[in-house]
């Protein structure tokens, strides 16, 4: 609701009103919209009021006709044409003739787009300019130019995000924003950015997360109205004195009865695959080593994660003649594990000992039974000739024994094969949603509308990160949609304080939320304000 000065407010509903208005124009080459909105402009605004007639007001658009007998607004030659050129700033100020102009209130501030219409018609004998002024949000640049914002960290209030978008990309100063800096909703995601979104869509998305709708107020400041109907009425018209007409228009459309708010969970969730073979390894090992270690990764690029991994031995190192070692497995991390084969210590020791024995045994002479001579040279016949007999090859026996032991160890050398099995997993953000659906009570059990009667509207808002936040939006939107199916029109004596989203209560206690308004200003008459409302559903 637009704040009015106490003096104006007190006079508004007492006695005979003497409504008055002013139409002011600023040359856009001298002052910016920002300067006008924040009252820091340097020029004296041009007063269009004496020339103006047929002033038709809505929150989005202002139309009026300027009588121009001196042709000062002629777009090519007029002496005051700069005040009606493209981007010229026009403001409507409304008040009461009994009140000082300083206490009047701005009910519209906007831009002229392009060129005004101007007519010098001999047959109709008119010299007039037709002017249409648009509110600040009716700018294609706000809705078509795409932006990517900086990254906002977890815990940032979305109000800060909104201020950033408005000041950085719409060049607004903080004084041009009527929305509080803290909107009470903190970002749940670690990093949040608006990406390739129009600034106005970004602001709309931010406010949607707290159930509000942006608009530019009469001062030209960025404001927002809440869709929630759980609030006190802004204006109570208890006696019906100022209500000229109370209409209930027909509503013949299918109304939305099912709201779904889709959002990305701020927490990553583990998505598991089936238990399966993750990797395999084979190795040849034996006496020549003490220990073998094999690293196994769950994917070639080392990015796959898995849990509950374990070793499946397809062929063991102990599957040959002798058990030569111990096989074990441990998971290093979720991306890989390690197979360890420990060769028993006795294997290399025995192999070494047997090799040494084999060498040593080669130097052992054959054994001859006692009392027999030894022929030292069988070719020359020198030495003592003895009776030919058998000798015992002690060295060879020992060599054979060592050789057999070594061969046994070598025969135990073999290739082992292993597989690692486990449950692969990845992390993914879950697409969660909150639904609010119109239902009826069957006994004590709520029964949602049948599937064929459901008319759903989906809302995608990634600024929401929890079910609580999404539930809140879903409820507000469903109640608001339901209320939209109960349109109500009020025609009242003008109340300059009323704005979009305000709630008006009438004498019988019913409450209506304002969705649109229009009025025509005429000199000496209290304007008639036509209000398009929806019936307030109280939760």
């Amino acid at each position: 609701m637009r704040p009015l000065s106490d003096v104006f407010q007190n006079l508004l509903y007492t006695g005979w009103r003497q409504p008055a208005y002013k139409l002011l124009a600023w040359d856009p080459t001298i002052d910016t919209m920002s300067a006008v909105v924040t009252e820091t402009y340097t020029q004296t605004p041009f007063d269009l009021t004496p020339y103006a007639t047929q002033v038709q007001w809505t929150p989005e658009k202002l139309d009026f006709v300027l009588f121009d007998p001196q042709q000062i607004f002629h777009p090519d030659t007029g002496s005051a044409r700069q005040y009606l050129q493209d981007s010229a700033i026009i403001r409507l100020v409304e008040g009461d003739a009994r009140v000082n102009e300083a206490d009047w209130t701005n009910t519209f501030t906007g831009y002229i787009k392009g060129q005004i219409g101007w007519e010098n018609c001999r047959s109709k004998q008119v010299l007039e300019a037709k002017v249409t002024v648009f509110s600040r949000d009716n700018s294609q640049s706000l809705k078509r130019r795409l932006i990517t914002t900086q990254a906002y960290s977890v815990g940032t209030d979305i109000g800060a995000m909104l201020y950033d978008v408005a000041t950085r990309y719409i060049s607004m100063s903080q004084d041009e924003i009527r929305i509080p800096l803290g909107l009470g909703l903190q970002l749940k995601h670690q990093v949040t950015q608006l990406c390739q979104e129009a600034p106005w869509d970004g602001i709309t998305t931010i406010l949607e997360a707290v159930g509000q709708v942006p608009f530019f107020d009469g001062d030209g400041r960025l404001a927002a109205w809440p869709k929630s109907m759980r609030r006190a009425p802004n204006r109570i018209l208890t006696d019906g004195k100022f209500i000229l007409d109370d209409q209930i228009p027909a509503y013949t459309q299918d109304n939305i009865n099912y709201i779904r708010v889709n959002f990305l969970d701020s927490q990553l969730t583990c998505v598991q695959g089936p238990y399966q073979k993750l990797g395999q390894a084979s190795i040849t090992t034996g006496f020549f080593t003490n220990q073998e270690k094999i690293k196994c990764w769950w994917s070639k690029d080392h990015t796959q994660q898995a849990s509950g991994t374990n070793l499946i031995i397809i062929k063991s190192v102990n599957a040959n003649l002798l058990p030569v070692g111990k096989e074990s497995y441990r998971a290093i991390d979720s991306f890989h594990g390690e197979i360890t084969i420990d060769i028993s210590a006795w294997v290399p020791v025995l192999a070494t000992a047997m090799a040494l024995e084999y060498l040593a045994a080669a130097a052992i002479p054959d054994h001859v039974p006692p009392g027999q001579g030894v022929q030292t040279d069988v070719f020359s016949g020198t030495g003592i000739t003895i009776t030919p007999t058998l000798t015992i090859p002690w060295g060879k026996l020992l060599q054979a024994q060592a050789s057999l032991a070594m061969m046994l160890i070598m025969m135990s050398l073999g290739s082992a094969q292993y597989e690692i099995w486990g449950t692969p997993f990845n992390y993914a953000y879950l697409m969660q949603h909150s639904d609010a659906i119109e239902s009826t009570m069957v006994g004590a059990v709520p029964q949602p509308l049948p599937y064929y009667q459901q008319n759903m509207r989906q809302i995608e808002n990634d600024l929401v990160g929890t079910f609580d936040q999404a539930d809140n939006i879903a409820l507000i939107e469903l109640i608001w949609e339901k209320s939209k199916s109960y349109p109500r029109n009020l025609i009242i004596e003008d109340d300059p304080a009323l704005e979009l989203g305000d709630i008006v209560q009438i004498a019988d206690g019913r409450k209506f939320m304002i969705q649109d308004m229009k009025k025509t200003l005429k000199r000496g008459e209290v304007p008639v304000l036509e209000i398009d409302c929806i019936k307030v559903m109280t939760a």
Binding site: Y258, P274, M431, D435, I437, R457, A474, K535, V536
Partner: protein, 175 residues
């Protein structure tokens, strides 16, 4: 309903983007019957599970064909990462010009759960009459579940068997 809303719906419908999870091993599939083979798999898009009162919900777990599973969804060409994806992996689907969905990549998002609030309206009073959760969770069965869920006791179900659970953790079916 405004023109804007209707336009937004039309845009959403035309975008043809879905996410789902791989619901079968990958297999070769001959969509045109002429011997041209493509890799394909079944994908669980889980859509009807999320909707309140969707008649397809009742068939889940009753032994019939799960209508949430798109059959024989082809994989975009030369996308080895997808072919090596396993059952349960989230994937992104895109609608091709012929209207058929194809798996175009691995997804960092997956279908989650839903919180449904039942609201009743009477005159100008809206009241929250109750709430429930929707959606399913697919995960491997724990060792305890392998023993308790199999009629023949532990050993009846293979290690690694997966189950489909509702949002409250109750088993709906074994995959």
């Amino acid at each position: 309903m405004s023109i804007r809303e209707i336009t937004d719906w039309a845009i959403d419908m035309a975008s043809g983007q879905l996410i789902g999870t791989v619901a079968s091993p990958f297999y070769q599939y001959c969509p045109d019957g002429t011997g041209n083979w493509v890799w394909a798999c079944d994908v669980d898009i889980g859509q009807s599970v999320l909707d309140v009162g969707n008649p397809d919900n009742v068939t889940i777990g009753s032994g019939g064909t799960n209508p949430n599973v798109l059959q024989a969804v082809p994989v975009a060409n030369n996308n080895q990462d997808i072919i090596y994806a396993q059952q349960g992996t989230p994937v992104a689907l895109s609608k091709m010009p012929n209207g058929q969905y194809a798996i175009v990549g691995l997804s960092t998002t997956a279908q989650g759960l839903g919180h449904i609030i039942f609201v009743t309206f009477a005159e100008d009073i809206a009241e929250v009459a109750g709430d429930t959760m929707s959606g399913v969770i697919i995960r491997p069965l724990t060792l305890g579940e392998l023993g308790s869920l199999s009629p023949s006791g532990f050993g009846g179900l293979p290690l690694g068997a997966q189950g489909r659970f509702d949002a409250y953790g109750n088993l709906v079916s074994i995959l």
